[in-house]
């Protein structure tokens, strides 16, 4: 275990920044989101949840994939080279760290995504343990321990000190010059956090029946209509979610060519997977159902039971009308199975 005074965080970041960019929670215009560190950044490691999740580091909201240019009768195609320099993502909470595993399943399985893969390969993930879970955190249901998140290195902040443990070579490279530390303060914090986890209102959700065997039963449950009634069909829940992974590929007409880009898509939108024949999800009931069926039934049935929700609580905190995945789990899970 290594340590660093919180007051010296800037110095450490600045040293890392000499060779690689650091991406971490930064406050701007009153909100905390991941951003690239500069000496002027207002670093907010204390913020439990950033508005957008850490997934942007690997899967940004918008990126160009290729360009087409027309000159006379010739069309040239230029692939965008996903050349990425090494970078560090720092301050990732246990839930977001777990989301990378889920995204890996999607983007790194065949046919793998070169943009995502390049960023994953060049990144070092430094996670941060939670000392103060919120009432709507429910990561513990998905085998996540917020007191001991996985990553290349892990940080614990206790009072005015940051404790660090490296788990990989990449992590070791970042912390090797720091002072050695005693593990007792970290263990004490972990014990407290785990005690709070026992008391979390959503700490023990009943996920029985959310699996491939109950697919049709869940799909046809009449409760979806009521569950989705207040849904505005905005994309807030999907855009703040660390595991939502859908994107759309679009062409932008530049006048003398085409810029092909991709941008996050949302199953809550009316044009999601729109096809020539129209759409198979004509109302918000079907769109809403898709989001939760994907996370709780389709994904686990294709991935050995791994849910594609990490219980970060963002959709609970941000839905304008207070709809969320916990309400769905409670309405359709457990004894309903």
């Amino acid at each position: 275990m290594k340590m660093l005074k919180l007051a010296n965080l800037g110095g450490w970041l600045s040293a890392i920044n000499e060779t690689q960019r650091v991406y971490l929670p930064i406050e701007a215009a009153d909100q905390v989101n991941y951003g690239v560190w500069t000496p002027d950044s207002v670093v907010r490691l204390d913020a439990l949840r950033t508005v957008k999740s850490a997934k942007d580091a690997f899967f940004p909201q918008v990126e160009n994939m290729m360009n087409f240019k027309t000159e006379g009768k010739n069309v040239s195609v230029e692939m965008i080279d996903p050349k990425v320099e090494n970078f560090v993502v720092l301050g990732v909470r246990a839930c977001d760290a777990k989301s990378f595993e889920i995204l890996d399943r999607v983007f790194l399985s065949d046919p793998y995504d070169p943009f995502y893969a390049a960023r994953r390969e060049h990144s070092t993930v430094v996670t941060l343990a939670c000392g103060r879970p919120d009432e709507n955190c429910f990561c513990v249901n998905f085998g996540i321990d917020p007191a001991d998140p996985k990553g290349d290195a892990t940080m614990w902040i206790v009072d005015d000190t940051i404790y660090l443990r490296a788990s990989t070579e990449k992590g070791e490279a970042l912390v090797k010059d720091l002072e050695d530390a005693d593990t007792a303060p970290v263990e004490a914090q972990q014990a407290k956090t785990r005690e709070i986890c026992e008391k979390l209102p959503f700490g023990k959700l009943n996920l029985k029946g959310f699996d491939g065997d109950h697919l049709m039963e869940k799909f046809n449950n009449p409760k979806w209509a009521e569950l989705s009634r207040a849904c505005l069909g905005c994309g807030t829940c999907t855009f703040v979610c660390p595991t939502c992974q859908c994107y759309d590929i679009r062409d932008f007409d530049t006048g003398n060519g085409v810029q092909r880009y991709r941008c996050w898509d949302s199953c809550m939108y009316s044009d999601f997977t729109l096809m020539a024949h129209g759409t198979n999800r004509p109302t918000q009931v079907e769109r809403f159902r898709q989001r939760f069926m994907h996370k709780l039934v389709y994904f686990p049935s294709n991935n050995e039971g791994m849910y594609s929700c990490v219980g970060c609580g963002r959709c609970l905190a941000k839905c304008p009308q207070n709809l969320n995945i916990v309400k769905v789990i409670k309405a359709l899970g457990g004894d309903e199975a």
Binding site: D30, V62, D134, L200, R229, G235, F239, V240, C263, Q321
Partner: protein, 326 residues
């Protein structure tokens, strides 16, 4: 008040006034109420308390076609929501004859994010005793003054009069701070063009194009938004560049000008805390100044100044005169 309300609703349903009620129901916590349409046997789920911030008026649009001849839905409408209700009637998006409006009293609604912003997290319960709130958390109890954590829209409340109702239930209490609601607009107007640009870039660059602001807005009631049309060449969901982040909001503010009642929902729902209402208030203050004071949704059937010609109207050249310092 909640018990009184439920009793009254039961009586109304018993008398055959309507079969279903548009109101709010309890969520997983005490603070996360959800807009709901409840039948007689679900009325015990109804809640009306300090956390019923969401404006319900827009939900009536989708209910209209479901109502048979002579049938009504009973709707709970707060004072601020009553302006949106009237505006939607004016635009023929809802039909007053099909709604039995209960004007519910309002003492201001609490913004749980303002409690969180004070570092009070892990909130599990709250006791309300007048203005004294005791917030229970996983980490112990905290005291908060209710008046300090009201939704921003409540701090510039247009007043506690219901602009439409069939009957009223419950007491109201003034929540407006009395400050001029155009204060911030004036500050922005006084800035140099560069400062103002920097302010809006700072705010709008946070936008994730989730479209919650548009979808919650009672004035945005188009069946299909132009930004949802793939043939426009712009993508409603891409936040690729300044155009998508800035112009969307400016275009939207133009589109709702004269119809925006200043209900404050756009800013309430924005996950990135962008003060969108300031764009609308700029339009409202310009309308007030150029055409005389006007409040959308005050009455049904108003013609708002932007679509109503009078001889006293300003000349189009006003655009150049006022735009010259920008």
């Amino acid at each position: 008040m909640q018990r009184e309300l439920i009793e009254r609703l039961n009586a109304l349903i018993g008398e055959g006034v309507g079969k279903r009620v548009l109101g709010w129901k309890r969520g997983e916590f005490f603070y996360d109420t959800e807009p709901a349409i409840l039948a007689a046997d679900q009325l015990d789920e109804l809640v009306y308390d300090s956390f019923c911030g969401p404006n319900l008026s827009k939900y009536l649009i989708q209910e209209m076609p479901k109502l048979g001849e002579g049938e009504k839905i009973i709707a709970l409408i707060k004072p601020c929501d009553s302006y949106s209700f009237n505006q939607l009637c004016t635009e023929h998006r809802i039909n007053k004859d099909k709604v039995y409006v209960i004007g519910v009293g309002c003492k201001g609604k609490i913004d749980v994010d303002k409690i969180r912003a004070r570092g009070i997290t892990g909130i599990t319960g709250i006791d309300v005793d007048g203005d004294a709130l005791t917030v229970h958390t996983l980490y112990g109890d905290e005291q908060v003054n209710r008046k300090e954590v009201l939704l921003n829209k409540c701090l510039s409340c247009k007043g506690k009069e219901h602009r439409v109702f069939d009957e009223q239930i419950g007491e109201s209490e003034e929540t407006s701070t009395g400050d001029d609601r155009f204060d911030m607009v004036k500050k922005l107007e006084a800035m140099s063009a560069e400062e103002r640009f920097a302010f809006w870039r700072g705010e709008l660059s946070k936008c994730i194009r989730c479209n919650a602001c548009r979808n919650v807005c009672p004035a945005c009631s188009c069946v299909k938004c132009v930004f949802d049309n793939p043939n426009t060449g712009v993508q409603n969901k891409a936040a690729a560049d300044d155009f998508e982040e800035n112009l969307f909001h400016i275009i939207r503010a133009f589109h709702v000008a004269g119809r925006c009642t200043d209900c404050g929902e756009c800013s309430r729902v924005c996950p990135q805390g962008i003060p969108l209402h300031l764009l609308n208030r700029k339009f409202i203050s310009d309308i007030d100044e150029l055409y005389g004071e006007y409040q959308a949704g005050e009455e049904v059937g108003q013609r708002h100044p932007v679509i109503n010609y009078t001889q006293g109207d300003c000349e189009p050249s006003i655009v150049h005169e006022r735009g010259s310092n920008a």
